[in-house]
């Protein structure tokens, strides 16, 4: 048994001492990386994607359910929109009051209207425009000036309650004189 063991040890020693010589480690490295990258990035196949997304078309009950749901969705949409359009059409025939409930427009309302006008690109609906752009600008300018003067007057009155009272009294007197006339 001993000579056989000895032989085996010798063979092992010979094999250990005779390592293979690697001529191009670079190529081997590349080959390894290529194989790894092939495993990590499977090839995107369009037909596989379509099969994945639209696999349901081959399942009868799913296909039928989805088609029914689509038809119902379209029907609901058509019904809802037709009802709404019919109602809006009926609204169009409704009476329009030309007055705004008898409340005089005050400064803040005019400001809002002017703001709307400014932000709407200084456009009025074509049917209602009757004055020129220049006239509108003049109007805005004069309203702004008037508002500044009004605020000055308001501040002046705030600081002087006697003056405020006097003006109010005068206004009431003026009003009653006109009524009695």
């Amino acid at each position: 048994m001993e000579p056989e063991n000895e032989k085996y040890r010798r063979v092992l020693n010979i094999l250990r001492n005779s390592k293979p010589e690697l001529g191009s480690t670079y190529n081997i490295e590349n080959e390894v990386f290529k194989r790894i990258s092939k495993v990590k990035q499977p090839k995107i196949n369009l037909s596989d994607l379509i099969d994945f997304l639209f696999g349901w078309v081959y399942i009868g009950w799913v296909r039928r359910s989805l088609i029914t749901a689509s038809i119902l969705l379209v029907l609901v949409f058509v019904y809802q929109q037709s009802v709404i359009l019919k109602r809006i059409d009926a609204l169009g025939r409704q009476t329009v009051v030309n007055e705004r409930a008898n409340i005089p427009e005050s400064a803040d309302e005019i400001e809002k209207l002017l703001m709307v006008y400014r932000y709407s690109g200084r456009r009025f609906p074509s049917k209602t425009i009757t004055i020129s752009e220049r006239q509108i600008n003049e109007l805005i300018k004069s309203i702004n000036e008037l508002q500044v003067k009004y605020k000055d007057l308001e501040n002046l009155l705030k600081g002087d309650p006697e003056l405020k009272e006097l003006i109010e009294k005068k206004l009431i007197e003026n009003n009653s004189t006109k009524t009695s006339l």
Binding site: F54, R63, I84, V97, R100, N102, T179
Partner: protein
């Protein structure tokens, strides 16, 4: 039918309702998608003082109040009070109506808000409702046609414009017809109300043969008796002659107090202490339905007058919708997806 008592009642109502010193009030409800409502009350008065007892719609110190004045082209000065408040929901508005101690505290008012999700759109409904004051009156719809009802509920400016316009004669005749019909409605409702109240007061009394059924069966007869004696109605009622004719001598003597109480109840319901005003509603999104009038600022407008809610509740409602953009996109993508699937199947099969 020319019933002078009705005319008297109508003129009394007018006297109560139309007073030059009454403030002109407009309530605007800006309804928000979450159910909150910004309420703006604009009161224009010829007097500088705004007494709470004189105001048509309640507001208090929790509101943002601004006062201003305006001078009309004829030189008249108007005092304007504006009050604004954001209400989290309609319950808060209803609570303020319940606590109202103003000029219209006797009437019951409430608001309602409904939001409905309908996939492609979300629909909103906002309404202000005034409860009816009479319990046994007849609905005015039974007496007036649809056009006549619209005319009756129109804002004053529309009625005046029509009556002064090119078709003035036509509208004058139309207005007279409505007036005649409303007289009839009022008369019948008054009789019905008296019967109802009188039956309630005499119910359960021993030996009473006057139940509501037997009195109702004679309603037209009562109407004719009143119509026949309309010139001396007050004196006949006071002397008990009319009551004897209506329910018989024995019953008239037996139930005089109840009959008088019922008559007084009816008159208090008709001669309601009420100051008229206007309601405006601005809805979120696009308007799809309303029973109001559209004013020049594209808001909805309703005049509120006492005769509108005598026998039927007066509901001022508006409905609008806001499209759910995300639902439109989801639905579109879903439809394209299903359509593509079907096409792929057809192609592969082919």
């Amino acid at each position: 039918m020319k019933n002078k008592s009705i005319k008297l009642v109508a003129s009394l109502i007018l006297m109560f309702v139309v007073s030059c010193d009454d403030p002109v009030t407009v309530v605007t409800n800006y309804v928000h998608p979450d159910g909150s409502v910004t309420r703006k009350i604009e009161v224009t008065s010829k007097k500088k003082s705004f007494k709470n007892s004189n105001l048509q719609v309640p507001f208090d110190s929790t509101w943002t109040i601004t006062d201003s004045w305006a001078i009309a082209s004829n030189g008249d000065t108007s005092w304007i009070r504006k009050a604004v408040k954001l209400f989290k929901n309609i319950d808060e508005i209803n609570l303020s109506y319940k606590r109202d101690s103003g000029a219209n505290r006797e009437i019951s008012r409430q608001t309602a808000f409904r939001k409905r999700f309908k996939w492609f759109n979300t629909e909103y409904r906002f309404s202000e409702m005034i409860d009816k004051t009479m319990s046994y009156g007849y609905p005015i719809e039974n007496f007036l046609s649809k056009d006549e009802l619209v005319f009756l509920h129109s804002p004053d400016s529309i009625i005046i414009n029509k009556q002064l316009g090119s078709d003035s004669l036509k509208y004058k005749a139309f207005s007279d017809t409505i007036s005649r019909k409303t007289d009839k409605w009022m008369g019948k409702s008054m009789v019905s109300e008296w019967i109802g109240e009188f039956s309630k007061l005499t119910a359960g009394k021993t030996g009473n043969e006057l139940n509501i059924k037997s009195l109702k069966a004679r309603e037209d007869e009562f109407g004719k008796i009143i119509e026949k004696n309309d010139k001396k109605l007050d004196s006949l009622w006071k002397n008990g002659i009319l009551l004897k004719e209506l329910i018989g001598e024995a019953n008239a003597l037996k139930y005089k107090i109840e009959a008088d109480s019922a008559a007084s109840l009816v008159s208090s319901k008709i001669l309601l202490d009420f100051k008229e005003y206007s309601v405006r509603i601005v809805m979120p999104g696009k308007l799809i339905g309303t029973n109001g009038f559209i004013d020049s600022s594209h808001a909805l407008l309703w005049p509120v007058k006492s005769e509108y809610f005598l026998t039927e509740p007066y509901e001022m409602w508006a409905e609008s919708r806001i499209p759910n953009l995300w639902a439109w996109i989801v639905s579109g993508v879903f439809l394209i997806f299903v359509l593509t699937g079907v096409l792929i199947k057809v192609i592969k099969k082919g």
